[in-house]
Symmetry: C2
DNA sequence: GCATTTACAGAACGTTTGCAATGTAAATGT
DNA sequence: ACATTTACATTGCAAACGTTCTGTAAATGC
């Protein structure tokens, strides 16, 4: 006997529960979408390209997401989730404004600079369906995190909105600038420092 | 006789020279592309959609631009041209830094906020061909305008690049933020003022 | 164990895409 | 005036796209 073990000779494929299978396949597909959009853009992220990168058939995708819009929606939701999660767990007690701003910008850039935001961005830009709503949802998530970091009751709502929009613009713009021109990552430290500067100046009482 | 005039009764179509025809048709096609991308996005800007909006046949497009990439390249070039032109004619003598910054940001936003930049942006994002080169070209045009507005010999090259990238990011990010969420235009005045503030602070000797 | 449900594979289909090919009217040069 | 070139219209097509449909293996519940 080539395989001397008694019951299961060569467990080429381990037994997996339905829940495990579902979680793994969904994760593979969504990761494939993110990777594809990040590297070849939205337009060339076709159904065939997704199945190729994920290593699953279209049948699997259809089973878990329904159609292509279903995958895109799931990826959007996942991306927001990741962002909120990343900045929700940070401990802020005892940090002064400088430190808070630095922490905030750091964490936010981890998200905006990641393929996940690139992905979110292109989906929102091209996907006609959940256009307004999804972006609005992102702004709310952003606002929630922001108010936790910077309570700032001395500022008018109008000024806060302007500051938020400003910060989002810098981060989003920086991310797309890097995506368009293949520029070295260290060039981005300067602009990020400028953003911190601007935030500190406009947030302190 | 229903049309009593002597020679040409109803000149439904005036006689146009070849040069005029070419100029008009090219302009109509390029305007159609800009309008289409600005309103329905890159993906849904198909060949048929372009011909529909331009009111010309595909044969005409083919004749003047070759293929779809040809139109896109032409639109890119035209967009850069418009930007450079807009800021090149401004007289700067006798303006102090504040005024220069305000003028610069104003003019730059006229471009970044226009459908032409939205168009440039989406083409660069989705068009695989001239990706790096075209963006590099835009940066050069940007740099040329910038150095005319802000000679600033006291700053290190590194700092200047950071400031430039920062300004581009704010403007581009603001434009895309407006494109994604249909937000009121007046909300953008705040962030633009913040950009001016940041530029003045970092440019003065 | 066995029926049922769930997870996934793969081919087939109808539509849309960009583009080539061909034809025609208008303008130009001589 | 007429031949030639330029500007534009129309049709047809092959490839690619998203999706539907059918089939099969694996896991679950009884």
């Amino acid at each position: 006997m080539a395989t001397p073990s008694r019951r299961r000779a060569a467990p080429v494929r381990a037994r997996r529960s339905h829940a495990e299978r579902t979680a793994e396949t969904r994760a593979k597909v969504m990761a494939a979408v993110v990777a594809s959009i990040a590297s070849v853009g939205f337009q060339r992220t076709t159904a065939a390209e997704i199945t190729r990168r994920a290593g699953v058939s279209w049948g699997a995708v259809q089973h878990h997401f329904g159609d292509k819009d279903g995958i895109l929606d799931a990826v959007l939701a996942d991306s927001f989730e990741r962002f909120a999660q990343r900045l929700a767990g940070v401990e802020l007690d005892g940090l002064d404004l400088d430190a808070r701003v630095a922490t905030f910008v750091d964490g936010a850039w981890e998200h905006f600079g990641s393929p996940h935001y690139r992905c979110t961005f292109e989906i929102l830009l091209n996907h006609p369906g959940a256009e307004g709503d999804a972006w609005q949802g992102m702004l709310e998530a952003w606002n929630e995190v922001w108010t936790r970091f910077f309570p700032a009751p001395h500022l008018a709502r109008r000024e806060v909105v302007a500051l938020q929009l400003y910060a989002i613009s810098v981060l989003s713009g920086l991310a797309t600038a890097r995506a368009l021109g293949g520029r070295p990552a260290r060039l981005l430290d300067g602009p990020l420092a400028l953003l911190c500067e601007a935030l500190v100046q406009n947030l302190e009482a």
